[in-house]
Point group: D2
Chain length 294, copies 4
Amino acid sequence: MVPEPNNWGRFGPDDQRGTLNLLNGPAVLSALRAAVTGQVVSLATPIGRKGPHLRGRPLPQHYMSIDGADFAAGARPVGAGLRMADDALIVSPHGTTTHMDALCHMWCGEELYNGHPAGEVRSYGAKKCGIDQVGGVVARGVLFDVPRHLGVDHLPAAHRISAAELAAIADVGPGDVAVIRTGWPLVWGRSPEEYWSGQPGLSAAAGRWLAERDVAVVAADNAAVGGLNSRQLADEDLEDDLHLILLHRHGIHLAEMLWLEELAAAGRTDFVFVAAPLRLQGGTASPLNPLAIL
Amino acid sequence: MVPEPNNWGRFGPDDQRGTLNLLNGPAVLSALRAAVTGQVVSLATPIGRKGPHLRGRPLPQHYMSIDGADFAAGARPVGAGLRMADDALIVSPHGTTTHMDALCHMWCGEELYNGHPAGEVRSYGAKKCGIDQVGGVVARGVLFDVPRHLGVDHLPAAHRISAAELAAIADVGPGDVAVIRTGWPLVWGRSPEEYWSGQPGLSAAAGRWLAERDVAVVAADNAAVGGLNSRQLADEDLEDDLHLILLHRHGIHLAEMLWLEELAAAGRTDFVFVAAPLRLQGGTASPLNPLAIL
Amino acid sequence: MVPEPNNWGRFGPDDQRGTLNLLNGPAVLSALRAAVTGQVVSLATPIGRKGPHLRGRPLPQHYMSIDGADFAAGARPVGAGLRMADDALIVSPHGTTTHMDALCHMWCGEELYNGHPAGEVRSYGAKKCGIDQVGGVVARGVLFDVPRHLGVDHLPAAHRISAAELAAIADVGPGDVAVIRTGWPLVWGRSPEEYWSGQPGLSAAAGRWLAERDVAVVAADNAAVGGLNSRQLADEDLEDDLHLILLHRHGIHLAEMLWLEELAAAGRTDFVFVAAPLRLQGGTASPLNPLAIL
Amino acid sequence: MVPEPNNWGRFGPDDQRGTLNLLNGPAVLSALRAAVTGQVVSLATPIGRKGPHLRGRPLPQHYMSIDGADFAAGARPVGAGLRMADDALIVSPHGTTTHMDALCHMWCGEELYNGHPAGEVRSYGAKKCGIDQVGGVVARGVLFDVPRHLGVDHLPAAHRISAAELAAIADVGPGDVAVIRTGWPLVWGRSPEEYWSGQPGLSAAAGRWLAERDVAVVAADNAAVGGLNSRQLADEDLEDDLHLILLHRHGIHLAEMLWLEELAAAGRTDFVFVAAPLRLQGGTASPLNPLAIL
């Protein structure tokens, strides 16, 4: 079997949307002009078993199949003396680490985004709208640092960011990546229990404001883009659910659980945002190491 | 626990090397100027159980914990009607999929690159030189399309690329990413057995030629940068082993098992190369979706 | 949540069948009388990555999260000096190791054994007929050593065991465990390729002969109780498929990939057969270490 | 590769101990005489993500690779119409589910039980004292129902069972399995937090009392045979640690996290105890479904 041709650098053919042309070559060239100093900042939390995560989720597991300690204890090198370490990772991205959602991750009714039958998302992968369809994202990133705007370290759990709050911070346009900072990951450091008590996030109106501006991706440092209550669920009804507004109705990819503290400290609103989700066939998400080029 | 600060966008402090400054801001800005059309091409094979891989390796496993078929069969939606798909990935990157090696992946003697004690690479992760130390790579990529240079579809299994062959194709400088095409993944499509019969790769002299030019990363479409024999092992002795020359002695990260066919078809030698390995703490590798911005 | 009461020692209430009373107390006491010498023999192959398995299946993976080599290399003991090894196992039992099939493993049409809707076997487990419903099996085992009967080391790949061959070896009655030896695992040792070339197994007529005798379990040393062709599939049509005859229509549990060489060497036809599948909720199978008490 | 011969039904040759002869044939025959009614009771909790477990451990994960819902949603049957469900289990037995410890699980100093070098317990398995060495256990079980003896539903977290308490309940002899009930799993049902607040268990003196009687296995319903404090650690020093007394110094296998409520309700002190740990090569433990034949 030959791997499928990768004619990417765009959202895949299954999932075309109005903004597709914004991610074509000229749009990418334009986005690259947002780089000023060239500093590259990772927007990911380390993948381990101690980082911020939603309660009850299966945490990443990382195992060595051979390592340096084995050789220290007498394991025989390969051939003339090569030694190596090898490992395995088990990861369920949603709620456990920095990741991007595929368009097949959430829906209501019988259809995914763009009318694809939801019943084709099966145990062996999603036939349509899998994370492998994303390719790569190279776009202008725009940071909405809401706590800084409001003069707080982080938003309180019950805060739902309004469209007006976004509009007061920056503007954003077609094909951009809206990067939403709530500061909530800072809470993890002082108390996982407090982290789990709820989460701030976008209001439905703010979600619609972003969708109207035709952004390509919404990337946030909270766990669900929208807010969560103490049971780790969204309070909105189906009409106002942030995943349904953005992912399901507009085909806007979501990236969640980013670590935005270095980016925020840099004080830059515009930058180049790069995300290269793993090409996991039919996956509902990919763990991610988003980069900001300042 | 607060996640460690991410002061990245560079090779980590544990693993500093001579070229570090080449990946600082001005070098990144310079690299970005290699973008001409803005087309973004993924250099990864899809992650599944059918792609090219070394024989005997544990292949990626991808499982849904809930999916659209479950709802089609009557699973109860969440809350007012939300439906979702969630999944888990098990992956051992070496030999199974497009990935980047960490500096802790291979060594000889008792020390890793830069003198770190190999015994600190343990079952629970590498204390030094883990893949989480890479951050992100944004650099100029230079394609060495060796089969094209030689007028063949792909190199034969026994071919070891000479320094002269590289020099005849392109030049490469400090901080660049040398992208080596052998065409060997094309063989997988007609016969896994032939794919496993051996692999073409860099000669030791070619590896030294690249190291002398102080490249930041060597990225290849074969499984081990160097060649492999029919037992899937390198034939070189310790002095000439490609992993030891590049990774162990010079701290040059390796990316392997790339899919370079679209990139090769584009006919561009220079481009922007972006790689954002997962921040897996103490990992020996990361599955990867490298991007070329043309 | 309190674990469900375990009122077991019988096939579970969801899956009651005619022979249930044969596994009640008096039947168990009667079965125990088959023990003569008290020698206990394991009927399982070791779980590793090198044992007999069907081609293409995900093999068991076993990883240490901490081990003795880590301490040898300097890991800090717990408390005053405790040292420990801990590990994880990833296993897909079918086709990879000695296991027992649950009644939800195979069916045709829309219903499992006993009319349970097949759509309730979902990504998060089988609501009915899961392996956790088995409890434990303590019954009389009867060995059908077909190669010995025919004077060969092992049956050839194309051999389909007839009802007459079974009848010529031994009789078996309600609630017994019919243990079928083909000797095929011996082939693995000389050639995995030959092991994969096909497999001997029961004919449909032999399956019906066992079902008529109302056995509780059929346990075999091949991979599928019935035979396999070179594509590792059964040749029978739906009417004659061994899994459908035994598991689907009669609710007879199947155990597969046993290692019967020590048992065969002991020369005993009757013994106590004990199987204690893991209580994996809604699982389709369990890896198994069946015991024969001679 | 031929699987190693299984000349088992006894503790393996690496791990011979004084009581080995007690598990030979005559001892097994004698143990079988403890069966009176023939009722078989499972002593395992269901394996899922909701059962009693120690905080912070990686919980069992169970995934279907194909299931009935996939067929309900349109998946194509195999061949003429076969449908099947297949699954994978990821399990780290210690602290998560009913399991048996291997002799390589815990030690102090540089040696395992019987003087085997601890450095040979490596990332790829334990060369000595792995769980695959156990074979199967068929022995007389003796229930020490301590809460019943004391007239309480379950022991309080701080209770350490004394030798006198054991002696007042029953006697136990060479080769027997001492089954210790604390009732602590009942606490899980009303509050995981309370379950995690500490655990009752054997005192060091009680452990020595059992070792002196030369039992083959100690099987308990708490997580560590000994008690735990609120940090889920043992309070004893190395001399008095229960794992070191029993497992390390005397080679007595431990089974933990059993579900003993049905057994206790049956009111029987003596019974046949059967345990058949998976033959996981070099494993530190096996998930287990112990059976009591009453």
